[in-house]
Each structure stands twice: as C-alpha cells, then as structure tokens.
C-alpha cells in the first residue's frame, strides 16, 4: 500500500521527550527567593552576604545557584550553600534562611540547632510547623503553597512581609 510504504518515512512511535526539569524545585526556588527578599531581618544580620542554605535537595540547590545566586537581597548579595545531610550543616555559621527537605526528627533537630538565631527555617513536610519550621510548603489544589508560623518568626526577630503573609494558606 502506498501509504504504508511512504509512511515509513515518518516515525510511527513517540518522538517527544519528557522535560525532566524538577518543576517543584523551580517553584520552590522562587518562593525561597521571595522569602529572602520580602521578610525583614534584624539589623544585626543585614550586613555582608545573605545566606540561604539548602539541606537534602540537590536540584533545588542547583536551581537557586543557577538563577538566584549573587542577586541582591536589599544590599546583600545572595549566597547559596547546599548540604546533602542534616548532620553536614555547620552549627557555628549563620544562615538567614534554611530549607530542609527532610521532616520528622531530623527537621526537629535542625530547628533546635537554629533556635535563638534569626534564621527562618523552611520545610516541606506534613508536620513541618510542628517540628519547628517557620514556613512550611504544602500542597493546595495541586499547587505549591505555604503555611507560616508568624509568631515563631517574631520571636526570632524576623518580620514576615505582608506580601508573604497574604499568599500563605494559614
């Protein structure tokens, strides 16, 4: 048959490839940038670089380095650091914003280590706020949203910006 002969010229199978971009990492990276840029940190940590640290999520770290590293947070250039495991996080260094991909006891340990510092801990865990995170990513209507423990942030001396508050689910 003519069609069959000529049809061999065209692919009979699937040709398109799935884009393997980590879509959640892209969205979360932008949220983290807004958390950095739109909250108010105490004046004691408003000099030098702005430190954003990622624990346990290489693709989120890569996305942040690729698109946001060295962008200005006020007058502070954004420095992004990544660690694979919770125990790798240096306890003696200051971090403005820490994202921790793991939940449960490990998240609680990070929160405990950061207690008393003006660090905003961000998590992506069903019980993130209970474990000590200030901001926790949640799924809402198939979208990434976040919830905030504004009281905890205030205790740390960090004022959550209106823009950030207005988009929070609770």
């Amino acid at each position: 048959m003519a069609w069959v002969t000529c049809g061999l010229l065209m692919s009979q199978g699937t040709t398109s490839g799935l884009d393997e971009t980590d879509t959640r990492a892209v969205t979360k990276a932008n949220f983290l940038f807004h958390f950095a840029a739109s909250n108010e940190w105490p004046s004691s940590v408003k000099e030098g670089s702005f430190y954003l640290t990622v624990i346990g999520n290489n693709r989120l770290y890569d996305e942040l380095v690729d698109k946001y590293a060295m962008k200005m947070i006020g007058a502070q250039p954004l420095q992004v650091t990544g660690y694979s495991r919770v125990e790798d996080l240096p306890r003696d260094a200051f971090h403005h914003l820490v994202y921790c991909d793991v939940g449960g006891a490990e998240l609680k340990r990070v929160a405990s280590d950061l207690e008393g510092t003006p660090t905003v801990l961000v998590s992506d865990s069903p019980d993130g706020l209970e474990q000590g995170a200030v901001i926790n990513f949640v799924a809402s209507g198939n979208r990434i949203r976040y919830e905030i423990n504004a009281a905890d942030a205030a205790k740390k001396g960090v004022l959550i910006g209106n823009k950030i508050m207005s988009w929070a689910v609770k």
Binding site: A2, T21, R24, T27, H34, K163
Partner: protein, 311 residues
C-alpha cells in the same frame, strides 16, 4: 516535326518517385491526430504528442473518446515527471489526473488501457502524498494549508480509484505527524516567548486531538499529546526568575497546573494501552510529582522499579 522524348530510365525513376510521394501523402492524410500522437508517444516525444492531441480534445470525435483521454493523460503524466515540478501548482499533474479520470469515467477503455490508467493515477496520487510527507518532515510555520491540500488531493485520487477506500487511518496518521511537526518546532525554542509559540502549541494539540478522533486509542498519539501539554507547562515554569513577582508566580503556577492536569488524562489513557511501558510510567510519576501528589507519584515509581526488576 521532331518531338523531344525522355530516356526510358528517367521516365521510370520519375514515375516511381511521384508514386511514392503520393503514397506517403495519402498515408499521412489517413492517420488521425490520435494515431500520430501515439507514434510520438512511442518515440518518447511527449511535448510533440501533447501539442498534437491537446487541441483536439474539445472536438466532437475526441471529447468522448476514452482512448484519446487516456493517451493524453499518460502524456501529461510523463510531462509532469520530466518537469520535476511539485506542489499544488504543478499543472501537468493536475491535467494528467483530470484526463486519466475522464478516460476511466467514460468506461470504454480496454482492460489493458484501464489498468495502465489506474497505475498512472496511483503514481500521481502517491506523488501528492510524498510531497505532503516531505513538507511535514521539513515543517515550517505556514506550511500546513498546503500539506492538507496535498493530502486532500491524494485522498481524492485514491477515492477515484476505489470509492470504498477508507482514509481514516491515513488521516489519523497525517494529523499525528502534523502534531509532531508542530511539537518539534515548539521544542526547538526558536519561537520561545513569541506569539508563534502559542500558535505552534495550539496547532500541536489540535492535530493530536483530531488524530485521536480518527483513532481514539492510538498509544503514540496519546503519549505525545500528554508530553506536549506537560512540556508546555514546564516551559512556562522555566521562565520564572528573580524578576518574577509573587503574583506572577501564582499566575504561572495556575497555568502550569492546568496544563499538567490536562496532560494527566491522555497519559493515563496511554498507560492503559501499555501498562508496563516505562516511558508512560515515568510520565505519570513526573506529572503527579509536578501536581504535588507525592503519594501517587511514588505508586508509579514503584511500578517502574518492578518493571525494571523483571528485565
């Protein structure tokens, strides 16, 4: 009185020459334009054959002469081949199809002529098809109307040869190819952020959906439709950067989630066709992940691991 007389051998030679000339002239006068055209055909002189026969076709003896239309159509087909012309405006091809179809419609061809006419028409029909496929393979924006018209002519010739011929499968394939052609241009990023990007996306989706109307359970079409929807969502997401406002981020998320949700439907249908196909399992795992549904994503992740263990 003395008369002049030619020698005998000269008189004989002249008589023979006059006789031959008369015979030749008499034979030429007896040949019809069709017969003379056929002798040109036998010599491969298509232009001479056409010049002789074409003006005669409006005349009463030939207007309803199937053999004359057949010879003319054959000549026009050969002229088309020799010209190297292509596209909708290749006039020799249009004329050849018309002449051959008219020859067949008159219904008085010999069995042999009818078969030759059908073969010639089949050749001409396939030439339309080949050109349509060539244009799909080298697809550029704006080529679509010509491709559809070329395919329409191919189908028309095919139907003339066999009125019962079912073109559904070809149409499903054509629209799938056009969907792929649009999607390939979309992936090439040449039109990233330009209005043509949306035109290409809409074109790809529309052709895949049309293809599915003809062949609803076609796995590659379902999979490609799902991928095109999903990748378009990712494409929007990748434009997010440090200048994206919170409001814009929410808007982009809404658009992306809408596309991801749409992608899920054909991806699931494709998965039902081939439950152990890794690319579909990976697709479902990825789309559920993008929709912030980690538990559902993990279900497919485990299925992938199970399939890989079997191999």
């Amino acid at each position: 009185m003395k008369t002049m007389r030619m020698p005998l051998f000269i008189r004989f030679t002249c008589a023979l020459a006059f006789g031959l000339i008369a015979l030749c002239m008499g034979d030429a006068a007896a040949q019809t334009p069709l017969e003379r055209a056929e002798s040109y055909v036998r010599a491969g002189d298509w232009d001479a054959a056409h010049a002789l026969l074409a003006p005669e076709m409006d005349q009463a003896p030939y207007a309803s002469n199937a053999r004359a239309w057949f010879v003319l159509g054959f000549v026009q087909k050969e002229q088309f081949k020799a010209s190297g012309a292509s596209g909708l405006d290749a006039e020799d091809r249009i004329r050849a199809v018309g002449s051959l179809q008219r020859a067949l419609a008159l219904g008085t061809l010999t069995v042999r002529d009818e078969q030759t006419a059908r073969d010639a028409l089949d050749y001409l029909g396939r030439s339309y098809f080949r050109e349509a496929i060539e244009r799909v393979e080298g697809f550029t924006l704006g080529a679509e109307p010509e491709i559809l018209e070329l395919m329409g002519r191919y189908e028309s010739v095919l139907r003339a040869l066999d009125p019962a011929y079912n073109v559904i499968e070809q149409r499903a394939d054509l629209h799938r190819y056009l969907g792929q052609a649009h999607a390939r241009l979309l992936e090439a990023a040449r039109y990233a952020g330009l209005p043509q990007e949306q035109v290409l996306f809409d074109g790809a989706i529309s052709h895949y959906e049309t293809s599915l109307n003809f062949a609803p359970a076609h796995y590659p079409t379902l999979y490609n439709l799902a991928i095109t929807l999903y990748n378009h969502g990712v494409r929007q997401l990748k434009r997010i950067n440090h200048e994206t406002s919170m409001f814009e981020l929410m808007e982009i998320q809404d658009v992306c989630v809408g596309l991801f949700e749409q992608a899920l439907v054909p991806m699931q249908q494709a998965h039902q066709q081939r439950p152990e196909r890794l690319e579909t399992l990976k697709g479902l795992m990825t789309v559920h992940y993008a929709l912030s549904q980690p538990e559902k994503s993990d279900v497919y992740k485990r299925q992938i691991e199970a399939v890989l263990q079997k191999k």
